[in-house]
Subunit: 191 residues, 2 copies
DNA sequence: ACCTGAACACCGTTCAAGT
DNA sequence: ACCTGAACACCGTTCAAGT
């Protein structure tokens, strides 16, 4: 079988969802494609590069909001981002790792920067964007870890459902960060 | 050589600082102690448990603030936490990972919860604590990654020093989150 | 352009046996 | 109580050679 880069990324995302990040090895992906693991290195310099391409693929599949004023849009982008991270097994950990490593996952940064720029937030913008992303990634990784632990049966549903790491909790936390951005914008106005 | 659990944790933290998390293998730690890797499994069920003990050790070494009203104290705790994470090579990644995995690193949660409780913040408390921690861990991991990339010479200092991921940026981001907590506390008062 | 086959230099973990 | 020695079942990556 002969593949192109795009096909390998698609298959890798599929394998991620099926087996999880820990079991997504170059050897396993090779088997999944009916190819030797070494063949993958014709398409990707190393595993990190492949993971970055997977993160970008997952992010590009989301339908990002474009309507609303800057505050509504920033909030909507964060909600869509969270949903997209939770839509794939270990999606939050994958995207957060790639972002931290600085090799990809830049789409949310661009979208949020554009939204906040319309808010004439000035020098606060980059810090505000990073603060939003730290919240979204941190919360999504937390939530996904606990959802998967519960699904594995290690923790029973009754014990975990009450600790608030759910959609309401996400909305509340997001509200805290956005309210904080508004306050700091008022304190040190743009320019 | 015969060791007790405490001595192994201390040596492991030392090895972390010297070689980094990626090179802290059970085999390498065994060598460092003059012991077979399998000997470590007499003291720790697995590597995750050892990493959790290391995270707790790093956190317990900090001198945590106890003075001031709830807001000042919450802010001071976050500043001390950040400093402590940056004080050890890969300290931020280690503690963030252990915390996400749910096997330790609970001290900051307890300290922040206690501080916010004095603020009579009610049902918002747990969400506020998690939002603060997502910010601190996310920011510290980011900063440490970039500091170490710069130290490795991959990026020159001039290019990185201007991107704002420094102490001022941390203070600004922390200001956003704390201001947000104040606002949301006012909106939905305790109880 | 894309893949095979074989190797290199590693991992975490288990377990019987030793002192 | 703590450690050794040997094994098991893996990793990511490289590289000459094939088509």
């Amino acid at each position: 079988m002969r593949y192109r880069r795009e096909e390998i990324v698609a298959k890798a995302v599929e394998a991620l969802d099926a087996y999880g990040l820990a079991d997504l090895t170059m050897r396993r992906l090779g088997t999944e494609l009916g190819v030797q693991p070494s063949a993958l290195y014709h398409h990707f310099a190393n595993k990190q590069t492949l993971l970055a391409a997977m993160a970008d693929e997952i992010l590009v599949r989301a339908s990002w909001p474009t309507e609303g004023d800057w505050m509504d849009r920033a909030g909507a982008i964060c909600l869509v981002l969270r949903d997209q991270l939770l839509a794939y097994r270990d999606g939050a950990e994958l995207v957060a790792t790639v972002h931290a490593f600085g090799l990809g996952a830049t789409q949310p940064v661009g979208l949020l920067s554009a939204a906040l720029d319309e808010g004439a937030i000035g020098a606060l913008g980059p810090t505000a964007v990073r603060t939003l992303l730290h919240f979204v990634y941190g919360h999504a990784v937390d939530e996904q870890t606990h959802l998967q632990a519960a699904a594995a049966g290690a923790i029973d549903d009754a014990a975990t459902s009450g600790d608030g790491r759910d959609g309401d909790d996400f909305a509340t936390g997001l509200g805290i960060v956005i309210a904080g951005i508004q306050v700091m914008r008022a304190v040190s106005p743009s320019r």
